[in-house]
């Protein structure tokens, strides 16, 4: 019986990919281990091998097709003795979705309402918009927006350079620095040895010496090796030198849980860095914020921690087409105005916040959703103004619960808007456990949209 060849997931975070090239054609006999196709994932171009032997009966997805979803059928394989006539319509139809996605796809992702059947969220930007009305917009992934931000700033300032593991010849472990080596050369796009403590310290020295380094950590989990240089050398020198010397530089890279990479590779450091005077801390959600804030970070005369998220790199958003688009630090963005409750989040937490707001709207609860965007400086006023209006607040973040950003916001709201509160502020966070590997446990360790909805219902007494 003909069998389907499905689009494979070739990285832990891959949701879709490009079928770059077929290396077989219809009628070819293949045996296991033969390379069938080249597939571009979110990280690299990978070779896709046959598992079984057989004959390529039909190619369903042609070469060069982009955005092929993982697990979509891409070809039909025939067993010996079968012919193309044996292929019926069913075989070419999409495979039924597996109950438990083997690639560890987040549940929220799988349940995402499709296309037009869900009412679109009413999304509004802050009082002063990030770009002038009428500006042309283009759709870009977070990954592309980050790269463009770096490229633009490197063009504008010769002292800006990028260093990190695999940033140059490999084009970035997560392809964020794609193309930068070609444009700027190996003097300004520098592959480092695997030596986080060393290259972080070296970059601090380079910043003292007049350069503006962008240090990419392959993930912020590895930045713990460099913590002393980030905190003691980069963040504190301006103060310790009485203002004579500082570290104008950016430490950036993916932060937080990816998918199925377990405890040592899944941690949100937002609260850690936000704790430190002398650092600025940015954690964007959308592509336009990623671009506008990274450009501001590179220009900032202080050390900036720029926390990205691997799961967000491939997500697309509108980005304004402007010569020089920046977003100032310390300005939250109101994604959705509402009157019943304030949901405050940042980074990937915004995904849960927005999904929850959408579902709550269906139940008649009108949530205001605020994206902090920067945690240091933090736009307290926007949060407080909103809470004074809604009288209720739920915070959403992926990090651990103890000494979280939500804890801090709760304290500030209590201090400055106590009389306005009609319910305690609730903090939705990741669970107080190291990240487990098992798919079902991981799902429970992370914050979920349902938990946000539940928290909102609690504070609105529904």
């Amino acid at each position: 019986m003909p069998t389907q060849v499905l689009m494979p997931a070739l990285s832990p975070t891959m949701e879709e990919g490009t079928l770059a090239k077929w290396l077989v054609k219809e009628g070819d006999t293949v045996s296991s281990g033969d390379i069938l196709a080249e597939i571009e994932t979110d990280k690299a171009t990978m070779e896709f091998e046959a598992v079984d032997e057989g004959v390529i009966g039909k190619i369903l997805v042609s070469e060069g097709t982009e955005g092929v979803k993982v697990n979509d059928p891409i070809a039909i394989m025939l067993e010996e003795g079968e012919s193309a006539d044996d292929i019926d319509d069913d075989a070419a139809a999409p495979a039924p979705a597996a109950d438990s996605a083997p690639d560890g796809k987040a549940p929220a992702e799988a349940e995402k309402p499709k296309g037009a059947d869900a009412a679109p969220l009413e999304i509004k930007s802050n009082a002063s918009p990030d770009w002038p009305e009428g500006t042309e917009l283009q759709t870009q992934t977070v990954r592309e927006a980050l790269r463009d931000a770096m490229a633009e700033e490197m063009r504008a300032d010769d002292t800006v350079y990028l260093m990190g593991e695999e940033v140059a010849e490999y084009q970035g472990a997560y392809k964020v620095s794609q193309g930068l080596l070609d444009e700027f050369g190996d003097k300004r796009v520098v592959d480092t040895p695997i030596t986080e403590h060393g290259f972080a310290g070296l970059a601090v020295g380079a910043a003292f010496g007049g350069l503006k380094p962008i240090v990419e950590f392959m993930t912020f989990n590895f930045a713990m090796q460099a913590m002393d240089q980030i905190i003691n050398s980069a963040a504190k020198t301006l103060y310790m030198s009485g203002g004579q010397m500082g570290a104008p530089m950016v430490f950036r890279g993916p932060n937080g849980a990816a998918a199925r990479v377990a405890a040592q590779h899944s941690q949100d450091y937002a609260a850690w860095y936000a704790h430190i005077p002398g650092l600025k801390v940015v954690m964007p959600y959308s592509a336009s914020d990623a671009k506008g804030l990274l450009k501001s970070a590179i220009r900032d005369p202080n050390p900036v921690i720029f926390l990205e998220n691997e799961l967000m790199y491939g997500h697309s958003f509108d980005v304004p087409v402007m010569d020089d688009f920046t977003i100032p630090f310390g300005k939250a963005r109101i994604w959705k105005e509402g009157k019943d409750v304030t949901i405050v989040s940042f980074g990937i937490g915004m995904k849960y916040a927005l999904e929850a707001a959408e579902k709550l709207a269906e139940e008649g609860i009108d949530a205001e959703v605020i994206d902090l965007r920067t945690l240091r400086p933090l736009d307290y006023d926007t949060v407080l103004a909103s809470v004074m209006k809604t009288n209720r607040c739920v915070t959403v973040e992926e990090g651990f619960p103890v000494a979280s950003i939500g804890n801090h916001l709760s304290a500030v709201i209590m201090e400055r808007a106590f009389d306005y509160l009609d319910a305690p502020v609730l903090n939705c966070t990741g669970k107080d456990v190291p990240m487990p590997y098992a798919a079902n446990l991981e799902k429970h360790a992370l914050i979920t949209t349902d938990e946000v909805i539940e928290a909102v219902k609690k504070v609105t007494y529904r």
């Binding site: 040895p193 310290g201 601090v204 010496g209 103060y239 030198s241 104008p248 202080n302």
Partner: protein, 338 residues
């Protein structure tokens, strides 16, 4: 006292010898005064004196040129004086006063001078080594021929980031001189008890970094080795290691009873290997200076040091609003006069 022969026959003028004598004696007298002020409660916290090690920085500064950079650990007073920083500003920082180099906010271990290319003063053992390597990275990137001196001790030589720095400096041929000031004790732990190899300078070999051992009690030997290292770096050959054998007469910090070594050991170094006495003898024996000349130098130094102590006592404590300044820059200080 036995007269020592200096390793390289000095090709130095009497004036240069006198300068080295002056610079080393300034550090010694300054440190003695700092110890005194510490005892009076005018200096607080940690205070690490450089007494005994003066020839290291004075010799290497004699090999450096305008625009070369230096960075060191928390035992940093000598480095600052040797590169020409103002004793008043250094002493006032020790007392935590407004007139200090860091406006009283850094203290003994954290001082900087953009003007003199002194990049600290770092309190975390070994952290200055990648920073010094990065200063060299910046110079190479900017295409000048400046050289950076990254000073660290025999104790720091066991930190991992030192070898991360060796590797990057070698791979990228960075113009950095790693100066291991081997005073033979990492706080209270002798090199024998803490360090697998007696010859630390050889630890650059696996990275392809040339290194040599230098008599750090002989300023002329240090200067000669420094000149060789500087020439190597400046010509684009990459990093160089100098292990400078030296000795600190005082404890690790002011609160160190120094029970880990004998009084005789210290006395022996003081009496037979003192770097300042060595130059003093050369000046007298070579008839480059009379006792009177040297007394004149001693006196002028005493004046400078006393003045710095007076300044450090009289300078007011920082204004309370200084608590809230210099946390974030509006303009990077490096860019201010660019």
């Amino acid at each position: 006292m036995a007269t020592r022969k200096t390793a390289a026959k000095p090709n130095v003028s009497a004036d240069e010898l006198k300068t080295y004598y002056h610079d080393m004696l300034l550090i010694r007298r300054f440190e003695e005064k700092a110890g005194q002020l510490y005892g009076m409660g005018l200096i607080g916290g940690f205070c690490h004196l450089y007494i005994g090690q003066e020839a290291v920085v004075v010799g290497l500064e004699a090999a450096a040129d305008e625009g070369d950079k230096r960075v060191t650990s928390y035992r940093d007073h000598g480095h600052m004086l040797a590169c020409g920083m103002d004793p008043n500003g250094v002493m006032a920082e020790l007392t935590g006063r407004e007139g200090g180099y860091s406006k009283g906010k850094g203290g003994s271990m954290h001082m900087f001078s953009k003007e003199k290319n002194f990049y600290g003063g770092h309190g975390i053992v070994g952290a200055q080594v990648p920073i010094g390597t990065g200063l060299a990275f910046a110079d190479k990137y900017l295409g000048n021929d400046r050289v950076s001196f990254a000073y660290f001790g025999d104790g720091a030589a066991n930190q991992g980031q030192v070898y991360e720095s060796f590797n990057m400096a070698a791979v990228w041929k960075l113009p950095v001189i790693f100066v291991i000031e081997n005073n033979q004790y990492a706080m209270g732990t002798s090199q024998k008890r803490s360090t697998s190899s007696p010859e630390i300078y050889k630890r650059g070999e696996p990275f392809g970094i040339p290194g040599e051992i230098v008599d750090g009690m002989d300023v002329l030997a240090v200067k000669a080795a420094g000149e060789k290292a500087v020439a190597h770096c400046r010509s684009g050959e990459g990093p160089y290691i100098l292990e400078v054998k030296t000795y600190r007469y005082r404890g690790h910090s002011m609160s160190d009873p120094a029970k880990y070594r004998t009084r005789e050991e210290v006395q022996n170094m003081r009496e037979k290997h003192d770097p300042i006495e060595h130059i003093r003898q050369m000046l007298i024996d070579g008839k480059h200076a009379t006792e009177e000349d040297l007394k004149e130098i001693d006196k002028s130094i005493k004046d400078v040091v006393n003045k710095s102590a007076d300044f450090a006592k009289e300078s007011p404590e920082p204004a309370l609003d200084e608590l809230w300044t210099d946390i974030y820059a509006d303009v990077a200080p490096q860019d201010e006069d660019a």
